[in-house]
């Protein structure tokens, strides 16, 4: 999990890729991830639960993806640096 403060979450050595995983059982359907990183996350039509659109997002949206992880109210998003 990334630290709370913005700007403090960068790794010492640059990551080559980010792996994003979601846990639909933990998700509370707040939609915060869709607001933070709309190209990476979506919500299921039937119940608003998270859908992962891109498990290896491009570097241009890494900041948004990390915001989505830290802003997820139910800790349903896990981002791993590869």
């Amino acid at each position: 999990m990334s630290p709370d403060r913005p700007g403090a979450s960068g790794p010492a050595a640059p990551a080559r890729a980010l792996r994003v995983e979601v846990d639909q059982d933990r998700c509370c359907g707040s939609g915060m991830c869709v607001l933070n990183a709309p190209g990476v996350f979506d919500q299921r039509d039937e119940d608003g639960i998270v859908v992962l659109l891109d498990g290896r997002p491009p570097e241009g949206v890494w900041r948004e993806v990390r915001d989505a992880e830290s802003g997820c109210p139910s800790q349903a998003i896990e981002v791993t640096e590869l």
Partner: protein
């Protein structure tokens, strides 16, 4: 564990805002935030409780599943006798833990998902325009922005969503106002809640023979809940769906009237939004939510086991109140947090909707309503100004949701 600088006589919550800028949290909460640990405070009945005022601590308490929202646990902290009566009698899913909470919440998450709410924009805009048309058509060019716009807008919208006749608004707004008074006697609060539940259960029963496309009718058709359970859920949505947005709207308008430079930023953000770029308007609304944070009653949790929060050991069975307004002014999360800055980077990290699995279900709808309402007011009523001196405005100190009782304006 840090124990230094704890005052000898613990603070009793809720503490007053009086004597300060009416947009600022109570000074006692801001002082507590500057200290090392959670603050030990007293509730109305003298019972002890922890108070979290820092952004990081509030996030921890509200997201960590070792804290429970179950109001039936012994020792659960209530901000008033009325609040206790309200939550213990008929707990809704915001006072439950998973899996019971998740089961009920998921019956509603689809209705408030981002895409669905975005599609409601024309309908919300039409309601706002209609209310403003009526205001603008009046001969006197004066109005109470609360009664004539800020309150009816979200009330009409939540009625449409639920399938509640708006004609009943005087009734449900009165029940809701009593339920949200922190100084109301428990009997009055209980009676207001019963009246509202009875009305909604009757409505649910009526939808069996005359269904519509509202949420109540759908819950009836799904057959998983009985009429009383549907009424309980409907009461939560109805009350939460209009009081919070109404107060955010009127308080935001007041804040913008007091700060013309920020009002101009909002107009510019609205112009960009009309041109297809909504990012600036999103940020402006998030910043108003952060700065004003109308839920002032403190979100309550109780520890299921010993948990360390920001250097304080909270023992199993001890309660914590999370003061969202204080957390949203935390300099560690929002530099120069006492200033309203509609272009603030990272404003979305605010806690105005709470955090954790109970984070406001209606958040996308509230944001949409504010995105529509605020630009519409400024655009439609040019020259908008207060019709009474600022010092005469009556703020909602005694309500769980802060805001204004009236906002007399002229244009």
């Amino acid at each position: 564990m840090a124990t230094a600088a704890r005052p000898s006589a613990p603070l009793t919550v809720p503490a007053a805002r009086r004597g300060t800028c009416p947009f600022d949290p109570p000074p006692a909460y801001e002082r507590a935030r500057g200290q090392e640990a959670l603050a030990r405070v007293r509730l109305w009945d003298g019972s002890p409780c922890w108070m979290a005022t820092r952004h990081a601590d509030i996030r921890t308490v509200l997201r960590d599943r070792r804290f429970s929202a179950d109001a039936t646990r012994p020792g659960f902290p209530f901000l008033s006798a009325g609040r206790r009566a309200l939550t213990v009698d008929r707990p809704t899913f915001i006072r439950m833990d998973d899996p019971g909470h998740a089961r009920l919440r998921r019956m509603l998450t689809a209705d408030f998902m981002i895409r669905k709410v975005a599609a409601m924009r024309p309908a919300v805009r039409a309601v706002a325009d209609d209310l403003l048309d009526r205001m603008a058509a009046r001969p006197g060019r004066t109005a109470d922005l609360v009664a004539d716009f800020a309150l009816p807008l979200p009330s009409v919208v939540i009625c449409l969503l639920l399938g509640v006749p708006y004609a009943e608004h005087a009734f449900f707004q009165r029940c809701s106002a009593t339920m949200l008074r922190t100084d109301a006697p428990p009997d009055e609060v209980r009676a207001a809640q019963s009246e509202l539940l009875e009305f909604l259960a009757g409505l649910a029963a009526a939808k069996r023979s005359a269904p519509d496309d509202g949420i109540i009718s759908r819950l009836v058709a799904q057959g998983e809940l009985d009429d009383d359970e549907i009424a309980s859920m409907g009461r939560l949505l109805l009350v939460a769906g209009h009081e919070t947005t109404a107060n955010m709207t009127s308080l935001s308008v007041l804040a913008l009237l007091r700060d013309p430079a920020q009002a101009e930023r909002l107009r510019e953000a609205a112009r960009l939004d009309d041109a297809g770029d909504g990012a600036a308007l999103d940020t402006a609304v998030e910043e108003l939510l952060r700065y004003l944070t109308v839920v002032q009653s403190g979100l309550a949790r109780i520890a299921r086991e010993d948990v360390e929060v920001g250097g304080t050991l909270v023992r199993a069975g001890e309660g914590v109140l999370c003061m969202l307004g204080a957390g949203n002014r935390d300099e560690a999360a929002f530099p120069d947090g006492g200033r309203l800055d509609l272009e603030r980077p990272g404003a979305r990290r605010h806690l105005a909707f709470g955090f954790g699995v109970h984070q406001c279900l209606g958040q996308p709808l509230a944001c949409l309503e504010l995105r529509v309402a605020l630009p519409a007011v400024l655009e439609r009523l040019p020259g908008l100004r207060l019709a009474v001196p600022f010092e005469e405005l009556r703020f909602r100190h005694e309500m769980a949701v802060y805001g204004l009782h009236e906002l007399p304006v002229a244009w």
